[in-house]
């Protein structure tokens, strides 16, 4: 080997070693595998769309792969997922039809109570971007139902999902059931209408029978809500009447004040008719009366020929323990 080549080889080794040392130092100074660098990757979506020159879907895919790594790392280290929302927001801005990104993002976000709001925010964005998707409002319904316990809002989302193409029947059923659960009479009636609609449009006998049963339960439930509201009103009125009579007696400086009744609840449901609050008392489909307990003001129904899941769970069925989950 000539001297010149030897010098060149030595120089090459020195330069290679030097660059390797420098690289190692850079790795320590700015570790690109650090999760903090997620912030660096997440530039504003508009900027990313601008610079990707028509390849925004590809950029969204790359960020999706990065998001999966990020989610995996935070799940393993049990660390906070502060960049999760920016990730899915950027991905869905670059690829607005990326349905699974909305669903996955909302699913993971709603796992953390502080991020439930962001989860719904993401789904709202998805509903705007993908007006034909039933899955996004369906997921929003579940987030509102399970994580926010907002049955009315959840029911509205399920109604929205049920109106979109290819929506499963479950969306309408969930809407009907959740409208019942709001304990609001008008919403309960809406639920009843949804069950009637499900009954009329059922594709087979089995589903029709199911819709019919749920419709009967819902009608029960609506009657129960109505009766409970009337009993409460009766109780309030009775209390107000008694308080007024006590006040009048005090003003008249009477020797004895009117005695406080043992209960302000109506003695029987017939009292509601007598008070003009309702024209007649509702009965169940088997023409049986509702069961009323004047001491507590509680209304119940006699067991139905089939297990009425919701009614049993809410303690409306006579002899059923609401703590116990019905077997069917």
């Amino acid at each position: 080997m000539s001297l010149a080549r030897l010098i060149l080889a030595t120089l090459f080794c020195t330069v290679a070693f030097g660059s390797h040392l420098l690289h190692m130092r850079l790795q320590q100074a700015l570790p690109l595998t650090d999760p903090a660098n997620d912030k660096i990757r997440l530039m504003p979506p508009d900027f990313l769309r601008f610079v990707t020159l028509g390849h925004s879907n590809l950029m969204a895919d790359m960020l999706w792969l990065q998001l999966i790594q990020y989610y995996g790392a935070t799940a393993q280290e049990k660390s906070s997922r502060q960049y999760l929302y920016p990730y899915v927001d950027t991905i869905t801005s670059l690829s607005p039809d990326f349905e699974d990104a909305y669903i996955f993002g909302s699913y993971v976000l709603s796992d953390t109570p502080e991020q439930v709001k962001q989860s719904l925010q993401l789904l709202e964005k998805g509903m705007q971007q993908m007006p034909d998707s039933w899955m996004i409002p369906f997921q929003a319904g579940f987030v509102s139902y399970l994580h926010q316990k907002d049955y009315a809002k959840a029911a509205d989302y399920f109604v929205l999902a049920s109106k979109r193409p290819e929506a499963p029947r479950l969306a309408q059923e969930m809407a009907a059931q959740l409208n019942r659960r709001t304990n609001d009479y008008s919403r309960c009636q809406l639920g009843l209408r949804l069950w009637q609609d499900a009954f009329e449009n059922a594709p087979d006998g089995e589903l029709r029978a199911k819709a019919e049963k749920r419709g009967i339960e819902t009608r029960f439930h609506c009657d129960l809500i109505l009766l409970e509201a009337l009993i409460k009103k009766y109780q309030r009125d009775a209390l107000a009447t008694w308080e007024a009579s006590v006040a009048a007696a005090k003003k008249a400086e009477a020797d004895t004040l009117p005695p406080r009744p043992a209960s302000f609840y109506p003695a029987s449901l017939a009292e509601l008719v007598k008070a003009g609050m309702v024209s007649s008392l509702p009965k169940d489909p088997l023409q049986r009366d509702f069961v009323y307990q004047p001491q507590t003001g509680k209304i119940q129904v006699k067991p139905l020929p089939w297990p009425a899941y919701e009614l049993e769970l809410l303690g409306y069925v006579v002899g059923k323990d609401p703590q116990k989950k019905p077997t069917n």
Partner: protein, 259 residues
Amino acid sequence: MNFLPLARNTLRETIRDKILYVILLFALLMIASSILLSFLSLNQQDKIVFDLGLSAISIFGLIITVFVGTNLVSKEIDKKTIYLILSKPIRRGDFILGKFLGLSLTLGVIILAMAAAFFIVLWYTMSLTESDFMAWLPNGSMALVLIYIEMLLLTAAAIFFSTFSTPVMSAMFTLGLYMIGHMSNDMLNFGKLTGQESLNQVIETVFYIVPDLERLNLKNVLVNQPVSPEIFASSLSYGLLYIAGLLLLSMMIFEGREF
């Protein structure tokens, strides 16, 4: 029809270029690598393969267009073979048309090869995910046709620039046109945001002069839903008309050029 022998010759010449095969190899590797990436994608295999495959075809098509297209005219001038060609009964316009058609055919062959690899990879991935490949085929084909038209437009632009500038400058102009063509819609929006009427008008003028390449970039839409035949036909016609305009301009400039 004097341009046909020139086109045939250009096809033969460009297809022999070794750099073409290196680029093609990289493109095929990138398309195939989408299989690996798709395994990491959490149920997004089809989407990853679709997006990555089409983007790879588009990016490598662009590289070929820029590197080969900008050299087509200047090579003939540098090697002085242009004198030989123009001494034959061939008009200068035919020369431009021949060069364009030749490279278009080469690009067609290259894109067909990449498309074949793309569809094989897509079919393989979809057979794993049990998706309906035939349902995606029309969308994929439409996206590929538009990518091809975009490449043809850039070829016409490369030829147009090379009629009056050096290959390096032509390559830069073509790349610049590609970038502006994809950014023009955003630039139009930025112009509106500034609220300055005069600036807005300048941007609007530029917007209508440069090709709106986003009209030919429907792959981001086609990954999820089909586009209407009207939109597809309009995009196609827009691209073809723009190509015709660029070729006519090139012919005009080349007619007046002195060697």
